[in-house]
């Protein structure tokens, strides 16, 4: 069931196929399209913010709308753009890199996606129903608990639903990587991307429950009259900050680690060298993941935790610089002595090193607890986290998309357009965010709707806005490239970069429905490279040709998620009118009914028979 076949069927059939698919490769497409769409929405919000801050005392948008913009920009970019785009790459690549035919729980994979999508849609519906959330993406109580209207309710319900999806996805990848590796693929032979997804999934498993708990408390405070964060009734507002950051800090590593892994693969491939210091890289990844849980309170140095707590969290935070530094040097020395081929994917990766190094360094500066009394909640912080999130995550996503696009869609993204998109984005990025460090220290707090004439902030803000437009141009060229490539570019072979080292490059682009005709035998790190060096054409199979067992498609993940979506509206509006409880019961009924169906109805999957496989092999699959 390749895409070529799918295109010949009707549109309805294609849509039905995507609604019911449990194939990790198609779920990757779903994540990519919806994550990309939210990325554009979040980008538009960013442009509106920058236009508002273009000059002093500007009144392009109102103060209330501005707060909605910043809240939705942050929330959208983190939860609805970066996370799903990372999940797109994870889905497209991880099963292939470990020699598996799908993830461990294909049904859950689909459920995770639909929960995320409905959560994201719910959040954005708030724009049309009387106002988006406006208490910042951090949603601090009591500003959030007392925020009028239903905006914050949408934040709570939307993130709760999409967060459940992410948690499910994380567990799924954890189990997949533990259980589904091909024979010979020991832990210390896993590609760095798979390793980092493994660590990231562990972080998701431990970090997201903190958010879930926080959101439940917030939900009960706002919708059912509890007072967890209400100081007037004996609650405590600071508890939200702790819960949020116990989730929120690991979240930034959840975002960056998979891309660290992707960069490792890309540097290695396009330098034609094995990764320098592989074990150190694995160790550093695990250590960053571990330390990532020890440092959440560095977001709260000005909350008044006292000098002892502040010092402990400061030193712990600084410690993270060590494994990160190890990674930077290992990447540099992977390229050292190699044959660097400057593809678009490599260009984004090369640009990542200085950008992320700056972001990491300002991170260490912020870790100095006392100095954070000046940096905290100013544009210095805004500059810092955009250097790591755009310079790390966004650059990484662009690099990964260029690198794995042929594996996902069978065509290499046009290299010329790819490089053309890179330059305005790269220049615009530094124009936008470098100056913000200085703006912060010159006295521009974060989340300011206007700054005033005579504060010396006008020039810097104008430069920043100009930079944002350059970034927009780069993004548009990238989109043009996607369209151009799908229309004009030619189909490519399984190993379009010629120096592919890992298992995904040993199978056709895009891979057949079942990925591997025969599960490959892994004989070392960079398994395909090992075979190439031995003069072989492909992988040695680890099993004889035989029937392949595959999971069945199902609409149930979609209906389960749709139910939570409906119930979400019910929860939000039952505060105004109990009639909305009908939506709660209808929605939960749909969700639980679908779950019951799933539990009671046997779904044993289907087999792809040996004869079909032999047909496919004749057509060239498996070589």
């Amino acid at each position: 069931m390749s895409t070529a076949v799918a295109q010949k069927r009707g549109l309805g059939a294609v849509i039905w196929d995507y609604l019911t698919t449990v194939d990790h490769k198609k779920i990757a497409h779903l994540y990519l399209v919806s994550g990309g769409l939210f990325f554009l929405i979040g980008g538009l919000e960013a442009m509106i913010i920058r236009i508002q801050l273009m000059k002093p005392d500007n009144d392009f948008i109102s103060a209330g709308l501005y707060n909605e913009m910043i809240t939705m920009h942050g929330t959208t970019m983190i939860f609805l753009a970066a996370m799903p785009l990372i999940f797109a790459i994870m889905n497209a690549v991880v099963p292939l890199q470990i020699g598996a035919r799908d993830v461990a729980f294909p049904f859950l994979n689909s459920l995770g996606f639909w929960l995320f999508l409905f959560g994201g849609l719910m959040l954005n519906v708030s724009w049309f129903t009387g106002g988006a959330p406006d208490a910042g993406w951090t949603n601090y109580a009591p500003l959030s608990t007392t925020s009028p209207g239903h905006g914050v309710d949408y934040y709570v319900m939307g993130l709760q639903i999409s967060g459940a999806g992410t948690l499910i996805g994380g567990i799924n990848f954890l189990v997949t990587i533990v259980n589904m590796r091909a024979p010979g693929m020991t832990y210390m032979r896993m590609p760095l991307f798979t390793w980092s997804v493994f660590v990231t999934s562990t972080l998701i498993l431990f970090a997201f429950p903190a958010l879930t708990v926080g959101l439940f408390l917030m939900m009960f405070d706002r919708m059912f009259g509890s007072a967890f964060f209400d100081v007037g009734l004996g609650g405590n507002a600071i508890i939200w900050e702790h819960l949020f950051w116990i989730f929120g800090h690991p979240e930034v590593y959840i975002l960056i680690l998979p891309l660290f892994g992707a960069f490792s693969d890309i540097f290695s491939t396009f330098s034609k060298k094995r990764l320098f210091g592989y074990s150190a890289m694995v160790f550093a990844t695990v250590l960053i993941g571990f330390l990532g849980f020890m440092v959440w309170a560095h977001h709260m140095f000005t909350v008044g935790m006292g000098p002892i707590a502040n010092s402990i969290f400061a030193v712990a935070t600084m410690a993270i610089a060590v494994p990160t530094g190890i990674k930077i040097f290992n990447w540099l020395f992977t390229m050292w002595g190699g044959q660097i081929r400057m593809t678009a994917a490599m260009l984004w990766s090369i640009a990542f090193i200085p950008s992320f190094t700056i972001g990491g360094m300002t991170g260490v500066m912020l870790a100095a607890a006392a100095a954070d009394f000046q940096y905290h909640d100013t544009y210095f912080v805004v500059g810092h986290f955009h250097y790591v999130i755009v310079g790390g995550v966004a650059f990484g996503l662009f690099a990964s998309l260029h690198y794995w696009w042929p594996k996902m869609f069978g065509k290499v993204l046009n290299e010329k357009l790819g490089k053309l998109a890179f330059w305005p984005f790269f220049i615009g990025f530094h124009l936008t965010f470098f100056i913000q460090h200085f703006l912060g220290l010159m006295g521009m707090p974060r989340r300011y709707w206007v700054f005033l004439e005579g504060q010396g902030l006008a020039t810097g803000n104008l430069i920043s806005t100009i930079g944002a437009f350059f970034m927009a141009i780069g993004t548009i060229i990238f989109l043009i490239n996607v369209v151009y490539t799908s229309v004009k570019e030619k189909k490519v072979s399984g190993d379009p970069w010629e120096h592919g080292r890992t298992l995904e490059w040993s199978i056709p682009s895009p891979p057949p429905h079942y990925n591997f005709v025969q599960t490959p035998l892994v004989r070392g790190l960079d398994p395909l490279w090992v075979e190439k060096m031995d003069g072989k054409e492909g992988m040695t199979p680890a099993e004889p040709l035989g029937d392949i067992h595959m999971p069945n498609a199902s609409i149930l993940p979609f209906t389960i998620s749709l139910g939570t979506f409906i119930a979400g509206f019910g929860f939000i509006y039952q505060v105004d009118d109990p009639i909305w409880l009908v939506a709660v019961f209808a929605g939960m009924g749909l969700t639980l009914g679908s779950m019951l169906t799933r539990s009671l109805k046997d779904d044993l999957g289907h087999h792809i028979h040996k004869e079909e496989l032999e047909e496919d092999i004749k057509k060239g699959v498996g070589k």
Partner: protein
């Protein structure tokens, strides 16, 4: 009591960095032009960290540039297979140990400064001033409990003395930030009271900001720190203590304004010693640098503010069109006569034309 880093300033790198950074921003606003104990200490800490970071960055970039220039694939070399290096123990130890040392160099002054700024050892001593700070949507209240005076929007402090601040919020979380004098500290509703101290080296009017998102008018919640000599400060305290809320203003419009004010505004606001809580204490209104923290002090602006507060500061608590424009003008006349102290009148907020 200058920061202990002072002596390192003579080093070239620090000198150059200091020159570079102090070029940024405007006097009495920018954290890069420190004029108080806290801001200077933190500026020194920033310099140490920036110097270390530049050192690291230069090394990384040197290797980076070399690698990119030297190891590009050239035409005709497509089939060369480079040596597949696994790693290098010595190198890996070096780039693990050196960063640890550099971080220790930064960690020690960090911990020192963190404890230094949290020091409360002299609070409550004879002659040491403590001011209670309350953050409200969207204004600041300053209560001098021992002196039994209250102000809002402008906090007066004596120079070269530690002034402790006990900080709270009445509604949502705010953050009190005076970059030129000290760092910031959150003000939190409920039982979490925070304490920090200010110490300004020079007389002047310093810009203060709310640094924690607190609603639509978060970006309009400015305040001023007015540092005056200790003698002048004592004078100011005396002037403030002598405010008589009942005193009859000079002009007739102002007298009418007083009556209107007492009838319409006193349920929230206060004049003189009392701290009303719901709205700012307007005792020294005519001495303020700004109306509502942002508007230039003119009668027109004041009338505009009284009649349409929501257009100036969206989301604030003061009801719109409580009084007619005519009445507002009378109230404005009254308020602009509340000029009880000329301490600090010679000081001006720095600003530049852009």
């Amino acid at each position: 009591m200058r920061g202990w880093m002072g002596k390192f300033r003579s080093l070239f790198l620090f000198g150059a960095l200091t020159m570079l950074l102090t070029g940024c921003g405007i006097e009495n606003i920018s954290a890069l032009k420190p004029k108080g104990y806290g801001s200077e200490l933190l500026f020194d800490l920033m310099l140490i960290s920036i110097a270390i970071m530049i050192f690291v960055f230069v090394i990384v970039m040197a290797i980076y540039a070399f690698v990119l220039l030297r190891y590009r694939e050239k035409k005709g070399q497509e089939h060369i297979v480079p040596k597949q290096t696994e790693g290098n123990k010595a190198l890996e130890v070096i780039w693990t140990v050196i960063p640890i040392i550099l971080l220790l160099v930064l960690a020690i002054p960090t911990v020192q400064a963190t404890f230094d700024l949290a020091d409360q050892s002299t609070q409550g001593d004879e002659g040491v001033l403590t001011v209670d700070v309350t953050g409200n949507q969207y204004w600041w209240q300053f209560d001098y409990a021992d002196q039994e005076i209250s102000t809002s929007q402008e906090i007066y402090i004596p120079t070269n003395e530690r002034v402790y601040l006990n900080m709270k919020a009445s509604d949502v979380i705010h953050s009190f930030w005076v970059p030129a004098i000290s760092g910031k500290m959150d003000t939190i509703p409920g039982e979490n009271m925070n304490t920090m101290y200010l110490e300004a080296y020079e007389e002047g009017v310093y810009e203060g900001f709310c640094a924690e998102l607190c609603g639509p008018s978060h970006s309009l919640m400015y305040f001023k720190v007015i540092a005056v000599s200790p003698d002048e400060f004592d004078q100011w305290v005396e002037d403030m203590q002598n405010i008589d809320p009942e005193a009859t203003p000079e002009t007739t419009t102002a007298q009418e304004g007083q009556e209107l004010f007492n009838n319409n505004c006193m349920s929230c606001h206060a004049i003189g010693g009392a701290s009303a809580g719901v709205g700012p204490n307007l005792g020294n209104f005519a001495n303020r640098e700004k109306i509502a923290g942002i508007l230039q002090p003119s009668k027109d602006n004041l009338v505009d503010w009284i009649v349409h507060p929501d257009e100036v500061k969206p989301g604030n608590q003061m009801p719109a069109e409580l009084v007619s424009e005519e009445d507002a003008a009378k109230i404005a006349d009254y308020l602009l006569e509340l000029d009880h102290s000329d301490v600090g009148n010679d000081l001006e907020m720095q600003s530049v034309e852009e």
